[in-house]
Amino acid sequence: MKEHYERLGISAGATPAEIKAAYHRQLKAFPAHSHPQDFKAIRSAYEALRKAPNQQADDFFELKPIEAELDQDLLAELKQQATAAANVTLEELILLTF
């Protein structure tokens, strides 16, 4: 997918309208009669991108930032558990271990 976007000179996540406009730009630069090889590559890039039903959701290979937020309540609970676990005597620890 990545090379198809590059071939048309657009970034991943382009809208269908942007894909078509980019395809037309490339056609003007590389017409079929004078640049058959380029034309074929442009055409197959366009066909591949056009086929993808939802450009943004479908781009499997694109690197995306992980969107996550820390849950403060969960964090507090974990902290409590950790403190409770730390509050053990050496004797208890030995008993637990063996």
Partner: protein, 521 residues
Amino acid sequence: MSKVVGIDLGTTNSLIATLDEGQPWVIPDEDGELLLPSYVGMNEAGKLLVGRSAQRQYAAAPERTVKSIKRQMGTDYRVTLGDSDYSPQEISAILLRSLKQRAEETLEEEITQAVITVPAYFTDAQRQATKEAGEIAGLEVLQILNEPTAAALVFDDRSEITENVLVYDLGGGTFDVSIVEMTGDVTEVLASHGNNRLGGDDFDRQLQRHLADKFRQAHDIETPSDAATQARLLQAAEKAKVALSTNAFTTVREPFLASQGKTALHLETEISRADFESLITPLLKDTIEAIDRALSDAQMETEDIDRVILVGGSTRIPLVQQMVENHLPGISVSSFNPDLCVGLGAALQAGVLSGEAVESILVDVIPHSLGIAAVMETAFGLTPDMFSTIIPRNSVIPTSRSQVYRTSYDRQDIVEIEVYQGENAIARENVPLGSFKIEGLPPKPAGALPIEVHFDFDLNGILTVTATEKGKGQQSSFVVNNAETGRLSSHEVEQSRNAIGSLFDIPAIAFAEEDETAEEE
């Protein structure tokens, strides 16, 4: 830089157009006529007649006159004219040469390159024959361009917003429908369908039969079956057809069509538009079905079409417009220059190819699928000689596609690649384009040896097939330029060119002599 031209080589009429500052215009003959009737003949003295003069003698001398040669393109049909017989390419070349001459006289320079149009649904053989006709006429054919596509190029009411246009092209002998996407100066064909043997000629023939029936009803005898009588009837039918496009009724009068004893028998009958319409409705139904198939190939519904353009002389028939409008309700149907726009579009494309400043980008498709014969899994198990498509119809051209096949029996040491064009699942039911073999394959169990078949189809319709045995890299390739219909060698083209040239030279010499005497005076 010498002028480039576009030529519409039609079944009934042909024309030649060129560009002036990016604007296409049709080059008229010395009488100001834009269209050259596609008739070639020979007068009693053996002098070549092209166009109107040949058309005029058709009813009187059908045996010395050729019409509608386009319908024979790509076949091995021969036509006799005078002492010699000619191929369809040669007759077409006479028309092309006459157009070339017209352009050279008007533009006062030699014309060597042209774009020639063909119906979108023409097969490989028909396209190659058209290209050969150009070569015989002394033209380098820059491109064989599809007629509905050429018509679409001329359409200049465009915007940056994409419009889907259906081009319905019904000419003298052929029918095409193309679905075209237009965005600014980009014209992209999405699908084409058609019938290479359906057009005004067929309507004429229906009407000719109808006139013969009327004659029989009136006089209780058959119309004479000789060529001259039939040619008169056919011409009367054509005239009546044209009249019925504007009038609701027309009268056909052919005096002295036959005789019974000493009495001369005339044909005199009135034909109504309704009579004519009932004769051609079954033929027109086929064109409506073709619209649906083109839409489905383009993965579109009727509602997706923004506009319909009618092209070709036969779209002047009111019933044609009506049937198209009824089938595509609510869509604007327009007609602009139905006789000229194909030639004008060819001139525009010629300008693009020769590097003139013409802002136009064209993307076209291949009308028929290409593939090879292969053993395939069907409902009956593994079946030999099935058609395996490699380039499906309506693929954008130029294109390259590959498919991997495997050997079908143990120790198979030879593979024959048979190339076909068509849509039938049985390979042999399609048009054969040629075949070749790869021999000396290493002995392997069935299915263990992969063979990649690569098809490369260029803008000029040249198909290069390469088969590669993946293991050892053994390779064999083959260029299809139509082995089956006997593609002409350059020597044969030369011979044809000379034969036709000599036909043209007779009047040319006569003119030269007149000029000399004029100078002496």
